[in-house]
């Protein structure tokens, strides 16, 4: 091998490494950018701000709910279209700047407490479990899943906080496989809120499973309360 060839190899190798490094940096950057954007399913004060701005300027005629749903999504797209921005229905840094809103680096969930109905953060976390565990289930089935989490919080055999119950190792498949990190849809949020407000179609159940896939013998020894959708609920 001549020196020239060696040089070639080295430079090609260097190019590969550079690409690898760039890819790495890109992915890291992208996740950081995602954290600072608001889209369908986001909620909190920032969403309130977006909705009021859009309403002021006549792009949005829905209620100011602090929840980024279909109406907000459509209004944002309309706003982006009219203002020559990339039309994706997501309020990222550029759209936010055009709206005159500072997104900051914070998480999209709000920290405002809502009294009686529970903390907004808790509702959002609960909604994420519901979304991950009960997609495709009837609405009542979603309320039931949220109710089971809350029943565990009140039960002595389980942790005493919503986060403690949800993140107990192995407790929920959606937590193990990361589906809990998906943005919950509007129905999951509604179901979480209903459960938080005391609706419990399972009457105090603390376990649920899908009879078609559950393999544990122990779980079948529990007294079943009710069957809703694909799941059975038990104490």
């Amino acid at each position: 091998m001549s020196d020239r060839n060696r040089l070639k190899i080295v430079s090609v190798l260097a190019a590969f490494l550079f690409i690898a490094a760039a890819l790495n940096a890109y992915y890291t950057d992208r996740s950081a950018a995602e954290a600072a954007a608001l889209g369908w399913g986001s909620s909190g004060d920032k969403v309130n701000e977006i909705q009021s701005k859009l309403k002021q300027w006549g792009y949005y005629d829905g209620p100011i709910t602090g929840y980024y749903g279909e109406l907000t999504y459509k209004a944002v797209r309309l706003f982006q279209q009219k203002n020559g921005l990339k039309v994706d229905g997501i309020v990222g840094p550029e759209t936010a700047a055009a709206l005159g809103i500072n997104l900051g680096g914070g998480a999209p969930a709000s920290s405002a407490s809502a009294g009686g109905g529970g903390n907004q953060n808790d509702i959002y976390l609960l909604a994420r479990v519901v979304h991950g565990e009960a997609r495709g289930e009837p609405y009542v089935g979603k309320v039931a899943i949220a109710a089971v989490v809350l029943n565990r919080v009140r039960h002595p055999d389980f942790p005493n906080t919503i986060a403690g119950v949800i993140y107990q190792p192995g407790a929920f498949t959606a937590v193990d496989d990361g589906q809990i990190n998906l943005t919950p849809d509007e129905e999951s949020l509604k179901a979480a809120r209903d459960a938080m407000n005391g609706w419990d179609p399972t009457y105090g159940a603390i376990y649920y499973w899908n009879p078609a896939t559950a393999t544990s013998k122990w779980i079948w020894s529990r007294p079943i309360h009710i069957r809703i959708g694909k799941h059975v609920f038990a104490k």
């Binding site: 060839n5 070639k8 190899i9 090609v12 190798l13 590969f16 490494l17 690898a20 005629d61 829905g62 209620p63 709910t65 929840y67 749903g69 109406l71 405002a112 407490s113 809502a114 009294g115 009686g116 109905g117 009837p138 609405y139 009542v140 009140r154 002595p156 055999d157 389980f158 942790p159 005493n160 403690g164 993140y167 107990q168 190792p169 192995g170 193990d176 509007e186 129905e187 809120r193 209903d194 407000n197 005391g198 609706w199 419990d200 179609p201 399972t202 009457y203 105090g204 376990y207 544990s216 013998k217 122990w218 779980i219 007294p223 079943i224 309360h225 009710i226 069957r227 809703i228 104490k235």
Partner: protein, 445 residues
């Protein structure tokens, strides 16, 4: 030129894969160690706090000083809480730690209850002392078992990472690694403790709450009741969904409505044929009714369904719906345990939800004694800092499922709204609530 091009590209690809693989390996190892450390920390904290509760319990049994009792009980409940939190973070199946978890929760709860008692100037009874002794014996055993397990983990016989891998899908089935086996053993032989009946959220007394009274009704009858409740003229189709048991036995139905796209779900109690809950699906729209109008709709609905004397106490608004809490009221006394919630659409006034579980379990003829304190006497016991807005008599539920007869004072301090409850018999301050008035929730005055 072309002769060596292919081998070079292949060699480069191999090198790249190697680098990538090595990176993945180190990353994986780092994550593994990191997880291991987190579990290790939880476990050490668990061992330390169980050890600490053991010592505090033993001191409590020989102490006769009230101040000391309060300090020790505070510590015990805090340490037991912390132990429980750490235990639940270990990657061990639920079935293996269930009893230990319950033990720690009840220990913490019981210590809190005793602490309240002692703080109120009462003494720990001999029966309660017996319970404490039993709890102490369990703490000793649990502590010894954990220390032994700790040695095995230290000596490398058992590790957390292996368990975490196995434990993933075995929440309900104890796996056969060493640590889990130990925990199963602790659970089966180590923990036996008295049935604790006291006024706290984890009291065993809460377990057997009574079912609704009344004659058992048939499925056909339940269907009629459901149809009537939603409105026979609105129902398109009603289909039996499932039977429920548990706190209540119920008949459940799926209901579709005329001129409405979303399904309803309703549950009727088998005994007495009462509507326990109604869950209606909806789509967010534009609110046309005010919150006040929504409240009137809900009140009218309750009245029409035969729930008389229900007064609104709290109201929340989410998008285009509102949830209103109602409590039973008689002779100017409000009974908070008899709670019904109604969800109403602010778009068209439609009833979207109804929840009467609390009401059905708690509502009864009550035989209240005359309050020992007059309103004036009770008012003097409320902090003078509070600017009082209203006062009335109220029955409030306690954590342990009992009731307390109180004067209820609503007042303002530094812009915040508070409700203070003064026991109408003893004059003790039973509870203080701070009302966080937001856009979404407000108190009915």
């Amino acid at each position: 030129m072309t002769r060596w091009a292919l081998p070079v590209v292949l060699a480069l690809a191999l090198v790249m894969t190697g680098i990538w693989g090595y990176n993945q390996y180190t990353l994986n190892r780092q994550y593994g160690i990191h997880m291991d450390n987190i579990y290790q920390k939880s476990f050490y904290d668990l061992v330390a706090s169980v050890g600490s509760t053991e010592i505090k319990l033993s001191k409590l049994m020989v102490s006769s000083d009230r101040g000391q009792h309060i300090r020790l009980l505070t510590d015990i409940s805090r340490q037991a809480d912390y132990a429980q939190t750490n235990l639940s973070q270990l990657p061990i199946s639920h079935t293996a730690i269930q009893k230990a978890q319950k033990y720690l929760n009840q220990l913490s709860d019981y210590a809190k209850y005793l602490n309240n008692k002692v703080s109120d100037g009462k003494i720990i009874t001999t029966e309660e002392m017996d319970n404490l002794r039993e709890l102490y014996r369990n703490a000793v055993r649990l502590n010894a078992d954990l220390v032994r397990l700790d040695k095995e983990v230290q000596s490398g016989k058992a590790g957390w990472r292996e368990i975490a891998k196995k434990g993933k899908s075995t929440f309900y089935e104890a796996s056969n690694d060493l640590v889990t086996k130990q925990f199963v053993e602790i659970d089966q032989r180590g923990i036996e403790y008295p049935t604790l009946i006291y006024d706290g959220p984890f009291s065993e007394a809460l377990k057997d709450r009574a079912d609704i009274k009344g004659t058992v009704i048939s499925r056909k009858k339940a269907e009629e009741i459901a149809r009537e409740f939603i409105g026979s003229n609105l129902v398109k189709e009603i289909r039996f969904s499932s039977e429920g048991s548990g706190e209540f036995s119920t008949w459940g139905f799926d209901v579709t409505l005329k001129n409405y796209d979303h399904p309803y779900y309703i549950q009727i109690s088998r005994k007495g044929g009462k509507v326990v809950n109604l869950i209606g699906q909806y789509k967010d729209g534009t609110p046309r009714l005010s919150v006040e109008q929504g409240k009137e709709k809900a009140a009218a609905f309750l009245n029409e369904k035969g729930y008389a004397n229900m007064v609104p106490t709290y109201q929340q608004k989410y998008g285009s719906v509102s949830v209103i809490n109602f409590a039973y009221s008689e002779n100017g006394i409000i009974f908070y345990p008899d709670l019904i919630k109604v969800k109403v659409s602010l778009e068209d006034g439609r009833i979207l939800g109804f929840e009467a579980r609390n009401y059905l379990m708690a509502h009864k003829e009550r035989d209240l004694e005359e309050p020992k304190l007059s309103l004036e006497e009770a008012r003097k016991l409320v902090s003078s800092k509070l600017e009082l807005l209203s006062a009335r008599l109220a029955v409030i539920p306690t954590d342990g499922g009992n009731e307390r007869f109180c004067y209820e004072f609503k007042g303002k301090y530094m812009g915040n709204l508070y409700i203070v409850y003064i026991d109408a018999m003893t004059g003790q301050e039973a509870d203080i609530l701070q009302i966080i008035d937001t856009e979404n929730g407000f108190l009915a005055m």
